[in-house]
Structures are given as structure tokens and as C-alpha cells.
Symmetry: C2
């Protein structure tokens, strides 16, 4: 798994975290002030998120950046 | 401090980590395969790094992404 592209790994973690909280992509994207299409690309690992957006995502989830990345190599 | 822009906070942590290892901006930028000018903008918080580059930086430092962000909110 850790040989896989970091963006794909991050997208998989994001999807699991979002689904665990019962949020749709639409709802989560709006909470992060981004479009659902853009959010979908992030979850599929097609886009490398910026630190700014990572911070917005971790704030929406109520966790720290370190916690957001805790399962990444 | 945590009200400050996340990019500035990250840049400050990066500079401290780099200096603690006795690396110049020039040397560290070359290890990360980016220009010194671009690296300087990152350290000054003028640019929001992507997850791809964060992973390259953490690999160069020999630490995990979570460790790289451990001092960020």
C-alpha cells in the first residue's frame, strides 16, 4: 500500500473518514467550500491537495493535521 | 501562533528542521528536486505546498508526514 501514490492513499483515508461520519461527498465538499467534482478528484487521488485545503479538511473533521496524516507513511 | 496562516507556520517549522540538520536552503531544495527560489517561498509561507511535495520533504528528512505536521494545529 505505501508504494501507492500518496494522493491515492490520502484519498482512500479521506473517503473512509467521511463515510464513517455518514457524510456524502456533496455535503463534505460544501463544508470544505469546494465543488463536489473537485472533492471527488481528491478522493480518487487525481489531485494533490495543498496544505491550505488539508487544514480546512482537518478543521471540518475536528482533528489536527497530524491526525489527518496519521495513517500515511 | 495557531491563528497565523498555516503556510507560514509550516514554513517556520521547515526552516527550524532544516537548520537543525545544518542544511542550506540550496542543499535542501536540491534534495527535494525543487529550485532554491521556490523552496524559499515555501519557507516564507508564500506558497501552499502540495501533499506530493510534503511527502518528498518528509522522505528527505526521514520522517513520516504525521511527524512533519506534529507541531501544527
Amino acid at each position: 500500500m505505501n508504494l501507492e501514490n500518496i494522493n491515492i492513499q490520502f484519498g482512500n483515508i479521506l473517503r473512509k473518514t467521511r463515510e464513517a461520519r455518514g457524510l456524502t461527498q456533496e455535503k463534505f465538499a460544501s463544508l470544505c467550500d469546494i465543488s463536489r467534482a473537485y472533492y471527488g478528484r481528491i478522493e480518487r487521488g487525481e489531485h494533490s491537495v495543498t496544505l491550505d485545503l488539508c487544514k480546512k479538511i482537518s478543521d471540518v473533521l475536528g482533528i489536527s493535521l497530524a491526525e489527518l496524516f496519521s495513517d500515511l507513511p
